[in-house]
Assembly symmetry: D2
Amino acid sequence: MVDGQTNNLMFNGEKAAGAVGDVAGSPEVVLRSDFSVDLVTCSATDMDVVRAARVSTVGSDSLLEEKGKDYCTGLINYMIRNRHGSPFEHNLLTFYVEAPIFTVRHLMRHRMWSFNEESARYRQLYPVFYLPDSERALRQEGKPGEYRYLAGTSEDHRLVRRQVVPAYRTAWSAYTAMLGAGVSREIARTVLPSGIYTSLYATCNARALMHFLSLRTRSEEAKFPSYPQYEIDRVARQMEQAWSARMPITHLAFDLHGRVAP
Amino acid sequence: MVDGQTNNLMFNGEKAAGAVGDVAGSPEVVLRSDFSVDLVTCSATDMDVVRAARVSTVGSDSLLEEKGKDYCTGLINYMIRNRHGSPFEHNLLTFYVEAPIFTVRHLMRHRMWSFNEESARYRQLYPVFYLPDSERALRQEGKPGEYRYLAGTSEDHRLVRRQVVPAYRTAWSAYTAMLGAGVSREIARTVLPSGIYTSLYATCNARALMHFLSLRTRSEEAKFPSYPQYEIDRVARQMEQAWSARMPITHLAFDLHGRVAP
Amino acid sequence: MVDGQTNNLMFNGEKAAGAVGDVAGSPEVVLRSDFSVDLVTCSATDMDVVRAARVSTVGSDSLLEEKGKDYCTGLINYMIRNRHGSPFEHNLLTFYVEAPIFTVRHLMRHRMWSFNEESARYRQLYPVFYLPDSERALRQEGKPGEYRYLAGTSEDHRLVRRQVVPAYRTAWSAYTAMLGAGVSREIARTVLPSGIYTSLYATCNARALMHFLSLRTRSEEAKFPSYPQYEIDRVARQMEQAWSARMPITHLAFDLHGRVAP
Amino acid sequence: MVDGQTNNLMFNGEKAAGAVGDVAGSPEVVLRSDFSVDLVTCSATDMDVVRAARVSTVGSDSLLEEKGKDYCTGLINYMIRNRHGSPFEHNLLTFYVEAPIFTVRHLMRHRMWSFNEESARYRQLYPVFYLPDSERALRQEGKPGEYRYLAGTSEDHRLVRRQVVPAYRTAWSAYTAMLGAGVSREIARTVLPSGIYTSLYATCNARALMHFLSLRTRSEEAKFPSYPQYEIDRVARQMEQAWSARMPITHLAFDLHGRVAP
């Protein structure tokens, strides 16, 4: 199972542009800097929102009427601006995600979502671990909740790599040693770091997604600024991009009105 | 707007087999005994469940693997029986419903669902009201929570009709008189009875639907018997039928294992 | 059971300042214009919020530390302004409410709350009905979602009373006639209007309450204006008043920062 | 901050009977085998349940009536058996918990709860790590979802200790080295294992707690057997014990009727 090939280790290995590659002399530890976000199921259109909203004023006619793009744009913008949220719930987006555990923990705080994750009780994990890429700021200033981030120097990045790779290796080695001796997976995993990758399905509707985006992306346009960690922000942006193609009017309205979930 | 034609009054008027027809001498009051339940959007298959469940043991392979019907049946039955509920959440069913307000109130107790309903503040309602049909038991015995129902005689049904029709007419007349005098809809509606029909979109996933069905259908097979009111039971059964065609393995497993939501 | 005495009909009858009194010649119909909102259980302090928030930066020390009012005020304002909502969830408020069904329906849209309501299946209801008092505007202008309300004239109020009282009486009479003939309560109640009073327990936490207040009160201070119906606004204001005495710092911060739920 | 004294490291250090003590020659790594569960706020009585249930049949009288223990026991058992769940929601329990991250992840799957957790972005963590004690079975047999656990030999326990301690040490050393070099906490924590302790507040009501207990405790009495991991089972049992003292009738009914959440 453990063969050092990123491609075989996780589904999106082949597009892991950020993957740093495996570690010389220790083939079993694979480093990765990117996040997989695939929209695997989607039943979500702007018209779903319009229809659900129209039932309040036209009842059953909402099923039949055809409304032009201008009308839909006006109505959706009105609802976003005035925070009429329920019409944005009659739709579904299911994402398949690969990310480190510490990032997945941010995602799984969102209780309006549904999740199923790879289990370290039920299977042996893969030795794929997170390493910040060169764009990832490594230093921070300021107080909790309002950090400013500073790019690390090349030396900083080398330092991080010098520290995390041996720690990952030691953890992986302890993990496989315990498994080899017959210790159960659920015990052996206690040494695995929060930087190890996991995979999961995450399902939400557009309202829950907007709430998530308002908290987990950092944006100049946001009426209520948020300071999410870089990694969850990158996961969130990929979700936002996939979603915006499906519900372009809703997405534009969300952005235009300060990225406040209705 | 008010023309006494069921067909024009609500979307499903034409298939209202149970509709008693309008009331002689008072064309504006329409009586109806049936409930409309249309599955207008659906993204729900048994394979969605299997894939979400499989991520726990095979991670990304869950995206690619093909599993036969026997395997899926076994896995889904295992999860229903052992109450592993989360894999049943990655799907969507949106129903368009027409039912009396007292029945919609039962439906809207379910907080895992999403709703948008016709608004008596934003529009003038239609004069369509509920009348129990001849199959509806009119009497009950026993204590709250465990009623036994007894069919009414023809005389009972005539009595009910003799009482409800004038009450509906008086209410409707007071409603339109107030509207005619310029009183706002949101005030005028205070006289409208809970038997008046309303329309709404109701969205859920299969897990929430099973929870709803376990409480709002009456069944000999149920491990935990429930005693819902007849009208919500009929709405629920229509939902169950539409759903069972989309997720037949899940539906069969739910039924087989005592109709307990996982 | 039916004796025309407001005092015996519902718990808060004796303080029903707005009650119009019973109707001459028809003692069984009681009119009422007020809403009962009693905070019957409360476990909610500003310190609960501070402690829950502090765990993120000081862990177990949050259990022991004493923080002055200035510190708490600063921290709570920071969290409200930046929409850190979860620390406002570790508390409880249970209200006992008496209001007309159409108002309770507004309240019960809020899915983060818990409810238990008087049942028209399990008991015979009381003949207590809603009549707008003289302060209640009776006319409205403008489009859905942004109504302007206009006070009714005395003649308007007389008109409403002239219409609703006979409708209530007819409904009540049909209800009791059916009950008298042995028809089950759950059928007989179909004629009862949405203006009849019901009673319930409604439980929430401060975060859910702020969300509710942001949508169900009308306020010049609101960053996102809302246009709730007058009756639910009055219920909401009574809840807000009771809550503000228990969590004064949180309430002030909510009001100061535009009444946006964190 | 790092002084090797369990007592100073986390609140419940002094009662950590299971703590193995610090590791010779490496004072900064502390091993711990127990879990802290303190009920820090509680507003929950059996009478809260009875009152909320009684509103359905007696309305406002529910506020005033006194019911004896036999009556309450009968009613609560009836509701548990027939799965009338909503009356069990009008109460609050807030627990302060210290447990390893992998266990807290099990707890935080429960979406009806409210959580605030110590943040590895906002503070430097303590070097307190999980080590299974001698009672913890280390081996497992059987397929996922139905494991049988086998006690480990003394040699097994020595093996686990021999593997985890160096892995913890290496991780902690990499963590502090990165912090010392100015790398942000949120990056440095990527090497910390899921066996590190975290602390949090967790709030629920009795209904959500029963649902949690039905899934996260293992019991012969359970109508639907569950196979939770040992560590979350121990956390759950401590919660159950604290809760049972506050709502003894509800707890007994839950246990008596197969530990199925209503």
